[in-house]
């Protein structure tokens, strides 16, 4: 049967939560073991640690923990792939910011007591579509949609569908209830809306499937957009027997769609693009402990990589 962990070790194990979870999972048990060994030897006098014994070990360990936990957090994202990746370009950051503004414009619709004159609604939709187009472009540029023809197709679809709805939004400025109130444009408006929600859903699904950027946000966008689609007037779902379900579900879908664009805007603005690494670079002894050791290794000049 396992012995219960002594109280000092239990407290130290709790403090290990200050380290990144991946580091803790990898070395946590060993660190607790080492801390326990230190305490045991301090108490038994096997190792000289001053008059206070365990207290001295604790003080030194707390100082060690404060410094190394912080440095490990600062370091945890600096993997080799991360350091080889290009920082997001100004254009990508700008596209992400536009996407965030677009999502905010959509979510604003859910805040009561704003001046909901029709022109404001139309302007809001224009901003939303511009944001979605920006995110579609940025996601393609940064490889978040994967590669090849499929990524081009998905990016093109979401950009074109949102551009179509954008045109409808611009046409609606100064024209109350457009396009519903205009028989010439009613059907076009419906198809523009359907294309927008459905391509948004596909776009979110691909983000989720590819998994290179904010994949759960992609899934939320997909689900939210599908529910938003069901809220379109012509589908009659929000007016049928199940209106009690579909109406709030569709509104929630629109809200989730807007929030997802905001989150994707943040993700895409921060996203690094992984550079292509040649085989020659991969086979070099790319990292050394510090510059001194790197110098020493190069002075040695005996082909370190060959000894691996």
């Amino acid at each position: 049967m396992n012995q219960p962990e002594p109280s000092h070790e239990r407290v130290y194990r709790g403090l290990l939560r200050l380290y990144p979870s991946e580091f803790r999972a990898r070395f946590g048990d060993e660190m607790v073991q080492l801390f326990g060994d230190q305490l045991r030897d301090a108490r038994t006098g096997r190792v000289s640690s001053g008059p206070a014994g365990a207290a001295h070990v604790w003080i030194r360990t707390l100082g060690d923990l404060a410094v190394t936990a912080a440095s490990e957090h600062a370091r945890k994202d600096r993997t080799m792939a991360h350091s080889l990746a290009e920082s997001p370009s100004m254009a990508t950051r700008a596209l992400g910011l536009i996407g965030i503004l677009g999502g905010v414009a959509l979510v604003l619709a859910f805040i009561p007591n704003l001046p909901w004159i029709w022109d404001f609604v139309a302007v809001r939709l224009v901003l939303f579509n511009v944001g979605a187009i920006a995110i579609g472009l940025a996601a393609y540029r940064t490889g978040a949609l994967g590669s090849g023809r499929a990524s081009v197709t998905v990016a093109s679809a979401v950009i074109l569908a949102n551009a179509w709805y954008l045109v409808m939004g611009i046409a609606g400025i100064g024209r109350p209830q457009f396009p519903e109130a205009d028989p010439d444009f009613r059907l076009i408006g419906f198809f523009a809306g359907a294309a927008m929600w459905l391509t948004d859903a596909v776009f979110g699904y691909v983000i989720w499937r590819v998994g290179r950027m904010a994949r759960w946000v992609g899934l939320a966008l997909a689900v939210g957009s599908l529910f938003a689609f069901t809220g379109m007037d012509r589908l009659e779902l929000v007016r049928g027997d199940l209106a009690w379900f579909w109406r709030p579900a569709a509104l929630a879908g629109i809200a989730v769609n807007g929030l997802a664009w905001i989150a994707l805007g943040i993700a895409v603005a921060r996203r690094r693009r992984v550079a292509v690494v040649s085989k020659a670079v991969v086979h070099e002894p790319v990292t050394m402990v510090d510059s001194t050791m790197a110098d020493a290794a190069s002075v040695d000049g005996r082909g370190i990589s060959a000894e691996r």
Binding site: L34, D64, M293
Partner: protein, 101 residues
């Protein structure tokens, strides 16, 4: 660097490494568990050390205890660093030690 040299030709676990660092530095350097394992992580990631499957210290054995040893790259880097430090010591020995007597 202390940890790389402390592991040396042996296979050592974290506490043994900690003790060896204190020994080779005459007690001037005392590392805590965080310093030991953040450095071990870097050395593992850089391929300078590796985990050993052997259990060379059965008296102190514990399921949680892992042993580490130098890789070929680690040995080469440690040897280069020792040569570099030795060169510096040789270069200044004349005035720093003999001149002070």
């Amino acid at each position: 660097m202390h940890i790389l040299l402390a592991i040396g030709p042996e296979e050592r676990h974290g506490y043994a490494i900690m003790g060896e660092v204190a020994r080779i530095t005459g007690g001037a350097v005392r590392l805590g568990p965080g310093a030991i394992y953040t450095t071990i992580r870097r050395l593992l990631d850089d391929g300078l050390i590796e985990e050993s499957d052997d259990r060379p210290d059965p008296d102190m054995d514990d399921q949680r205890r892992r042993y580490y040893r130098l890789t070929g790259v680690g040995r080469a880097v440690a040897a280069s660093e020792v040569r570099r430090l030795d060169g510096i010591v040789q270069a200044v020995r004349g005035w720093a030690i003999e001149g002070s007597g």
